[in-house]
Symmetry: C2
Subunit: 191 residues, 2 copies
C-alpha cells in the first residue's frame, strides 16, 4: 500500500513553504523542506547552499547540465540521483508533506500524491519577500523574475513539464488572493 504524500511546488515568495508547514501541523505528519536539503547534503557531500542553488540554476549550470557525459556523471546528475533516492526514502517511511525539489515528479509512481502548486501575483510576492528577507539593492520584482526563470528551467530540464501549468497539479492555489491559512485548510481537507 502506497503512502499518502502531499507535494508542494511553489513560486518564490508565494509562502508555499509556510503553507506546507501549516498543512503538516494540521495533519500531524512531518514536513520535509530544510531536512531534505540536509539529507541530500549529507549523502552527497555537497554543501547545503550549493544544493539549494541547484534548483535555481545560473548560466554555469546550463553549460554543465548539457555537458558531455563521457567523463562520467556531472555534479548535477549526482545531486539529482541522490535527491530522487532521498525523496523516495522519505515517502516510503510514511505520510508526509514535501516542499519543492520536483517531488511530485520523483514520486509519480511511488506514492499516492496530492500534488499542489502555490502561486501569487508579482505584487503580493514582492511584498512578501521584502518582509521575509529584507530589502536588497536589486528590486524585488527583478529578483522574483530571475528566480521564476531559474525554477522553470530546472523543472523543465528534469521533468519535461512546463512549470506553472495547471494540468501538472491536482490543485493550484493563489495564496495572495486566498491567504495562507485558507490554502492550508483546503489542502488538509483534501488529504
Amino acid at each position: 500500500m502506497k503512502n499518502r504524500v502531499i507535494t508542494i511546488s511553489r513560486e518564490f515568495g508565494s509562502g508555499g513553504r509556510t503553507v506546507g508547514k501549516m498543512v503538516a501541523q494540521k495533519l500531524g505528519i512531518p514536513c520535509y523542506d530544510a531536512e531534505l536539503i540536509q539529507k541530500i547534503s549529507e549523502e552527497s557531500g555537497y554543501a547545503k547552499d550549493f544544493i539549494e542553488e541547484e534548483s535555481e540554476p545560473n548560466a554555469g549550470w546550463f553549460t554543465q547540465v548539457f555537458a558531455d557525459r563521457s567523463m562520467g556523471m556531472t555534479q548535477q546528475d549526482v545531486i539529482w540521483s541522490i535527491q530522487c533516492r532521498v525523496i523516495k526514502e522519505l515517502a516510503a517511511q510514511g505520510p508526509c508533506v514535501i516542499v519543492g525539489r520536483c517531488a511530485d515528479y520523483v514520486l509519480r509512481d511511488e506514492a499516492d500524491c496530492l500534488t499542489v502548486f502555490i502561486h501569487a501575483s508579482m505584487e503580493k510576492r514582492a511584498e512578501r519577500i521584502v518582509k521575509e528577507y529584507g530589502e536588497r539593492e536589486e528590486k524585488p520584482e527583478r529578483r522574483l523574475k530571475e528566480k521564476d526563470k531559474r525554477r522553470a528551467a530546472y523543472h523543465r530540464f528534469y521533468t519535461d513539464m512546463k512549470w506553472g501549468r495547471a494540468n501538472n497539479y491536482q490543485i493550484c492555489l493563489d495564496s495572495g488572493a486566498l491567504g495562507l491559512e485558507k490554502c492550508a485548510d483546503i489542502i488538509a481537507q483534501l488529504y
Copy 2:
C-alpha cells in the same frame, strides 16, 4: 459594492459545467451557462449554435478575426462586445456563477470574482465525453485535442493570457483526480 461572482473556465470534458451548477445549487445563487448563450443570441441576432462555436474557432474564424476593420466591426467583434455587456449585466444583478466565455477577464474590474479553472487528464476527459455525448467516428482524444487548441486560441486572442496557466486563476482543480463533488465543495467553501 461589487457583487461576488464565481467564474469557471474549464477544459472540454472536465465536467466544469456540472461543477458550476453544483456550486450554484449549494450556494443558492444562479448559474449562467446556456442562459448566457441564449441572451447573447437574443441581443445579437446570431443563432445559439453559432455563438457556441465562436469560442471554439475554426480556420475561417482566424481569417475573419484578423481581418481589416475598415468596413466596420467583424461578426466576432459584434458578438464579443455583446457578450461582454451581457456578462457585466448579469454580474451587476447579484452574486452568481458564470461558466466559460472569458467571464473572469470580462469582469476583472467589475466584480469581486473567485476565478476557477477546472481541468482533468486526457484519459478521464475522454471517458467523460464518450459517456456524455456518445461515440463518434473521430476518436475522443482527437476531439479533445481539437477543442483544447481552439479554446486556447480564442482565450489568447481576447484576453492575451495563456490558457491553462495556474497564475490566471485563484484556484485550479483536477476534477478527474479529486471528483466533481469535492471540487464543488471546495469552491462553495471558498466563496
